[in-house]
Symmetry: C2
Subunit: 431 residues, 2 copies
Amino acid sequence: MPQRLDTRDDAFESDFTALLGAKREEAADVREAVDAILVDVRERGDEAVCALTEQYDRLALTPETMRVSEDELDAATNEVAVDVRAALDLAAQRIEAHHTRQMPKDDSYTDSLGVTLASRWTPLDAVGLYVPGGTASYPSSVLMNAIPAKVAGVERVVMVVPTPDGETNPAVLAAAKRAGVNEVYRIGGAQAVGALAYGTDTIAPVAKIVGPGNAYVAAAKRAVFGTVGIDMIAGPSEVLVIADDTANPQWVAADLLAQAEHDEAAQSVVIALDDELGDAIALAVSSQLVELERRPIASVSWRDYGAIIQVQSRDEAVALANRIAAEHLELAVDEPEALMDDIRHAGAIFVGHHTPEAIGDYVGGSNHVLPTARSARFSSGLSVMDFIKRTSVLSCTPDALAKLGPAAITLARTEGLTAHARSVAIRSNQT
Amino acid sequence: MPQRLDTRDDAFESDFTALLGAKREEAADVREAVDAILVDVRERGDEAVCALTEQYDRLALTPETMRVSEDELDAATNEVAVDVRAALDLAAQRIEAHHTRQMPKDDSYTDSLGVTLASRWTPLDAVGLYVPGGTASYPSSVLMNAIPAKVAGVERVVMVVPTPDGETNPAVLAAAKRAGVNEVYRIGGAQAVGALAYGTDTIAPVAKIVGPGNAYVAAAKRAVFGTVGIDMIAGPSEVLVIADDTANPQWVAADLLAQAEHDEAAQSVVIALDDELGDAIALAVSSQLVELERRPIASVSWRDYGAIIQVQSRDEAVALANRIAAEHLELAVDEPEALMDDIRHAGAIFVGHHTPEAIGDYVGGSNHVLPTARSARFSSGLSVMDFIKRTSVLSCTPDALAKLGPAAITLARTEGLTAHARSVAIRSNQT
């Protein structure tokens, strides 16, 4: 049974704090194993990658067969059912359209002192995309990670995807082709992260690595951070639904279960503005669980991390939602817009009864890579911003330097950095 | 003597690769010590912070005296010379003006299917700013870190600054007051990072911690990442100057030394487009070094990490500059704009003979917190973007859901996530 909380209970604050603090994931400490793999890849390159792939994925590779050929990508695409291809294409189009709007504009201006200041955005040269193998190998995630990079102007998007025992996922390869991924390699684990970060004879290094993975992949990304950029380390997925008496308990229950089926550590929480609603939702979840394909996973998630929180007012609901800072927030209420204005922290908001979170997972157009574990308090979902960087440009005329110089000299001397002061003064003999 | 490289030499490529790969900083492994401090702060709060401050800073504090009072901030401001205060104010105004232009606009649109998509930017609730004590305690860095946060709309900016033996830096406190810092605490080290991340009875927790620090501070920031956001871990500072025969060797030398005086691990590199220029710059550096206050530091930096690279063309210069991806890039050439268009990777560019890098350190208006150690290939300098985050908003009408739903259902089923499919289908009986 999921936890039941009620803001009217004396124990509410401590119960809610415990819910917020619940650790849903114990990161296995695989640092030593990962460090050894990374050193091996750095030193032996392709040779290490092939040996480790044989060891972990039971797949014999050579530098020549590491890469998935264009023919294979075409064949995989043809293997995918026509309606799935059409759905991937619709999703890709919508992701492209939405992310294109995210591109910031360069800025350049000359101020009253004659100083020209500019902000110039440029794409990364090359990006690596990690795609997990097995059951967590999602074509939708390929689109969500690769398309923003291509929209940003990244010329070289390199995908790695392990194929244990040589088994590939045609839909994943079709998505890679549709998204414009430039190179695909059938490798995974820490060795694939190492290959992307350091480069091998076969795989040129990238500037940043994105995409989800298991504990080994996460540890490898942490370890190579600095050599390359990385995206956020994603935790288990979560949804928070705020529902009032206009909500359909069956619909809310379906959304809670959609989250719960991801992972035993996923979390589904509902804030109920109506006293009877909580019971109705709990009942609907129980009855829908029975017929669920992924019932073993969803039932554990709902039992261990699910929660129904009874509140007395919209203000209470908003205050709790801002503390939870959920990855996904559904507003299953009448007049959701009014509520939305008070929400400060959420990865993505799904507005009204007809916007189930699953739309955002696939075809909404916004990105489904979103901050988990309350990190929406300080970070954003994946976007084109993750694939571009800004260069500041400063340009002084001799006159502007003469006007600004004295203040720079004063501050540099205050900080004891007299060579800084000198570099300004030498240009106008203000020594 | 600095390294001399020449693209005409056979050994150039291997020498340049070695220069790129030179590790200027060995991160001391202080993880265990830091982990213990963080556990202590998490468990004992104020008590731990006071005890650790007594131990490391030889300063007896109580929860009541931890915070620097408004009166103390006023007194410190009055202690600062009038010209320094005026310079801080000019710098602050210019930083405010520039960073205000960086604020992105919210976006909202309804597409042809009737789906409304929005991107909403909101500030972080609270930010912690670490300011080092002792000689690296720079008022300019207080402005550069705190002002973008305030411009972004962060309501609570909390500064921590160690005051070993109780010694404060009035200019740092004056800068904090000018920048609108809301709370200042006289604590430092890993214990201050822990207090900001976890909160104590006296210090409420923040959502993100920014600012430079020693190995302990860096390790503590890495450790609390996830609980809070952090900025990039800054490495030693560096400058790259591209100079042609129109450059004044004395000016270039002054700029190289301004960088070198920061730190023995700082790096100053010049790419010379003119054969005699390299010698002239080397000579100018040697002669200027003699009279430098921070000669012991600058001479070691220049000897160990300085480099003069002789090239034959602008194209060569650009190619090398893009590989170096310097934190600071000066274009001390005729027609710098033409060169600039080809530069893809740099933290900040200083254009022309009259824009010494030191202007950007203090009063240019752009931020002086910039990506070091080649990370300009994948990251940007500090900006308002570090203090806001984006929430995606998705809203479907029943009609839009009916149009988009089938594709979402198809993809969910392809991924084996049938509860996802169900959450869409249940709303239109497309089960």
